[in-house]
């Protein structure tokens, strides 16, 4: 076990290298995951306020299930 950690006196180099790689990759994964979660809650909240304020709803967005509006970068067809 000590030999594993020491790696023939190169231990600090090897473990620092692997450690940096692990940290960066894990960090990116976690950040991306959190970002997605935050967006999902924001979207859910936004959809709630829509249902509250306008029961009829803007026809373009909620009733449209084919996501055509997402192809139009300037927003839903007015």
């Amino acid at each position: 076990m000590p030999n594993f950690l020491d790696m023939g006196a190169y231990g600090s180099f090897i473990w620092t290298a692997y450690g940096i790689a692990a940290l960066v990759m894990a960090g990116l994964f976690v950040a991306s995951w959190w970002r997605l979660r935050a967006r999902e809650t924001a979207l859910a909240d936004l959809l709630e306020t829509f249902e509250e304020s306008t029961p009829v709803g803007p026809v373009g967005v909620l009733a449209n299930d084919s996501c055509d509006d997402l192809d139009d970068r300037n927003g839903p067809p007015s």
Binding site: F4, M7, G8, A9, Y10, G11, F13, I14, T16, A17, Y18, I20, A21, V24, M25, L28, F29, S32, W33, R35, L36, R39, E40, A42, L43, L46, L47, T49, F50, S53, T54, P58, G60, V61, D65, S66, C67, D69, L70, D71, R73, G75, P76, S78
Partner: protein, 251 residues
Amino acid sequence: MHRFANPKRFLRIAAVVLPWSTALTVALLGLGLYFALLASPADYQQGESVRIMYVHVPAAWMALFVYSCLAAASAVALIWKHPVADLVAKASAPIGACFTFIALATGSIWGKPMWGVWWVWDARLTSVLILFFFYMGHIALTSAFEDASRGERAAAILALVGFINIPVIKWSVDWWNTLHQPASMIRMDGPAIHTSMLAPLLIMAAAFTAYYVTVLILRLRGEILTRKIGALRMTRIQDRQEERTPHMKEV
């Protein structure tokens, strides 16, 4: 390719792929680390420090691979105005930047015991550093405009301009007399590495690729949701304006 232009269909496919790619990433990483740290021999000249190679080289490969994907997606976005393609480019940039950083950092750490220096301004290291700058520039450009799609299109042009750097990196060790090791993998007469070292290298490379796919899907979903939220907010603002002034129609 045009089948994926519909974000919702793309999201459905992505939802199916995501658990598989995550599982594959974890499995391959486990297997790769086992081979890299335990089941492979030390090098005759470098001793155990050669194990850094199993992180450094796959990370460097990924840095180049992700940039190529980014450039290809940018080309598709510019030529066909494909809505998902420029999101792929935008989502890939941070991943590529991370891999480039890992390659530079682990390379520097490996260089100290091997060459005696942390850094040297030879062609390979300098061009990879430039690649890192291109990634940062791409990320900065996408968020530099009020109109997000303007930033994405500008970044697409930048991505194509920067693609020149990729062949330079690949052949820098052949064209110039560099301190960095010359090509020993993709050569005309096959790889020059023994199987016992080649196996962990390839497994780690496969693991990193699965990682890229996984994180890419996560970030893509985030981007698509960002667009949807933006569109919904615009609708809400328009609705409120119409409520206040019902007789005024949008031109």
